[in-house]
Amino acid sequence: MTTVNLWTIPYNAAYATGTTTTLSGTSAYLDGQNEKEGYIFRVPRDTTITHLGMNFVSYTGTPPTYRISIQGVDASTGNPDGTIKGSGNCYATFTPPADSSWNNTFQWFQLGTSYSATRGELLSIVMDYYSGTINTSNRSQILEYYSGQMDDVNLCPYADNYVPSSWSKRNMTPVFGYKDGSSPTFVGGHPSATRTNGTSLGTNGYRAALKFSLPSWFCSTAKICGLRAVINSEAAGGSSKFGLWSSSGVLQDVTIDTDCLVSPATAHQLVQVFFDEASLSTLSSGTTYYLGIERVAGTTTLYEHRVTTASDLLSNPMGDGWILSTYNGSTWSDTTTTRPYISPIFEDITAPTGSGGLFVHPGMVGGMRA
């Protein structure tokens, strides 16, 4: 047993800076032959990059064909160096459709030639013009970054915009992605579709929660004493109910008067709440649990981060198994492309049980021989 002094696996709350009331995305149009959007990052481990991705916001007219590539980084400026990896072959071309089917989705593109990146390597992903008619009537809009998050003023990774003739680095959280396969084992970057949506509960007793299990390498057992969540509560005079459930039912829960919140019935309220049971339940690794909110008497919303492809959640702490699940009074239903803004707060973590050892019984007689 160890008391971990209330550790949490943080999931950055989306709305976090002082004067920013909403999480907002900033996008850029690529409507000139010389214009580019770059994302500069470091690789955390050896990875064979097979796909690159970006968030496609909108189109105008008939978009041209673009290219997305892996490049190096100019040591003196920190901008893409213009040299495509793999002897110029680590790129893909794509032509966005002249309709809205791609709007506000995260798009992946398979490279013609994969790139074997090494741990710590500094790389850039660059999107630029390839062919066709490009102007302000025929163009695409892509997402550069999100602002309003805890890690704004991000030094690295960062987005870099080349318009009209020079690079300009951005100070917020860039939105880009890279992965090691169509069914990846590793996803890097921040491949987000949206970060502003929520799941609203319209019926009393319904729930929205983080469905999770604790990996066996993380712990044998654990206790969760509370959570951080981004919600919209019932109106003043109502109740906010937070719970920890298993497939069998409630393990822990606590109800907080919505009058205790700064602004009841207001979007994107960040709360930190603790359960009130005298003894916490011992959770087992490998078992599925649910941590979230339950509607008591009025509309309640749990905010979330959505991706286009379920495996994109591999870019998040604890991977693509931690997802949104909703309860309709009888069954839980999963949404594999959504991760709610829930961070569990641990009171206790017990290490995984050990490998074998020799325990010599004091009553043993006889000997040991090879």
Partner: protein
């Protein structure tokens, strides 16, 4: 063995990972005014001390009272001090000088209060006695802004001047269970500051009850750099360098301060041991890179509230020795590459060559 699935453990509370802090204390210059925080208890504990941020004094401050109270149906302090005939409160008189200014203050309660897990409570500061007016008052409590928890709706800070008004952000209040506490909750760093040394690092120690061995692939840390220079992001032990990588500041928007996600570039990472001290941070010369830390007062109780407790502190290296400063905690998220379970507990392995038997 595991690929620790992007597990990152943060040295400070997630809402406090930001570059600057502005503590705005409430002005109590009338005998009806109060400042308070409303929260629910993270665990069952006997509260012996309450703490708060002290802003400034004007003239000769009066005597104030700090107390633990309940919370009413409006989400405000209910005016009833816990403990009944043995109230969980105490009075204090700020000095008529600046010695308390911009510091955390702890006040021991005349009577402790045994709070239960999840209990919704308030800590309230109000007027007790003496002259209080626009020429004789203190600013206290209040809320911190510029943090990741700026939109924190609960817990929250409240101010009373005729009626209660709630404010989003991190309330500048705290409690603990003793002068040398085992439990501290609430509170905040006094400031966030840049540490510029030959090596500025977080000294950390992973408990052996958490894992046996582990590997660190990098960290996300709050740093400041100057453009056109290089520094080293490193992992050290008492014997020297374990892993390091040279970072060109032009490749992390040099000349700025912010969060940098840095990774080591060794082809194989070093296996580290739980229960051993390590250091992770920046090495530089000429002041080109600084590591940001939260700064606390000398009361170590503030450190006890941190996620890692006393297992993470700021340490600086002067070329020959490391020196720890327990009043500072670097803002670092360790990024694990691998975590290995502790070596086995008991188990019975029956040797095939064993003869004889077992008896009770």
């Amino acid at each position: 063995m595991s690929d620790a699935t992007k597990l990152g453990l943060c040295s400070v509370w997630p809402g406090e990972v930001i570059v600057s802090t502005t503590c705005t204390a409430d002005t109590l210059d009338a005998n009806t005014e109060k400042t308070a925080c409303v929260f629910n208890m993270p665990y069952a504990v006997t509260i012996a001390h309450c703490g708060f941020w002290y802003g400034t004094r004007t003239g000769t401050p009066p005597t104030y009272r700090i107390s633990i109270q309940g919370v009413n149906s409006s989400g405000n302090p209910d005016g009833t001090i816990k403990g009944g005939g043995s109230p969980a409160s105490n009075t204090f008189t700020p000095p008529a000088d600046s010695t308390w200014n911009t510091q955390w203050k702890w006040i021991q309660l005349n009577n402790s209060y045994s709070a239960s897990r999840g209990e919704v409570l308030s800590i309230v500061i109000d007027y007790s006695s003496g002259t209080i007016d626009a020429s004789n008052f203190s600013t206290m409590g209040g809320v911190a802004s510029g943090l990741g928890d700026d939109r924190l709706s609960f817990p929250n800070k409240q101010f009373y001047s005729g009626s209660w008004a709630k404010a989003a952000g991190t309330p500048l209040f705290a409690f603990k269970d003793g002068a040398s506490p085992t439990n501290v909750w609430g509170g905040l760093a006094e400031s966030v500051s840049a540490q510029t040394y030959s090596r500025a690092a977080m000294k950390f120690n992973i408990p052996s009850t958490f894992c046996s061995t582990f590997k660190i692939r990098g960290a996300k840390l709050r740093i400041g750099t100057t453009a056109g220079n290089t520094f080293t992001f490193g992992l050290w032990n008492s014997g020297g360098v374990i892993q390091d990588v040279t970072v060109d500041t032009d490749q992390i928007k040099g000349g700025n301060t912010g969060g940098a996600e840095l990774f080591f570039d060794e082809s194989s990472l070093t296996t580290l041991n739980a229960g051993t001290d390590y250091y992770i941070g920046v090495e530089q010369s000429g002041g080109v890179a600084s590591l940001y830390t939260q700064v606390y007062d000398s009361d170590i109780g503030q450190q006890v509230r941190m996620p890692w407790g006393t297992n993470a502190v700021f340490s600086s290296y002067n070329g020959s020795v490391w020196s720890d400063d327990v009043t500072k905690v670097p803002i670092v998220i360790l990024l694990f590459d691998d975590i290995t379970a502790p070596t086995g507990g008991s188990g019975l392995m029956v040797h095939p060559g064993m003869v004889g038997g077992m008896r009770a």
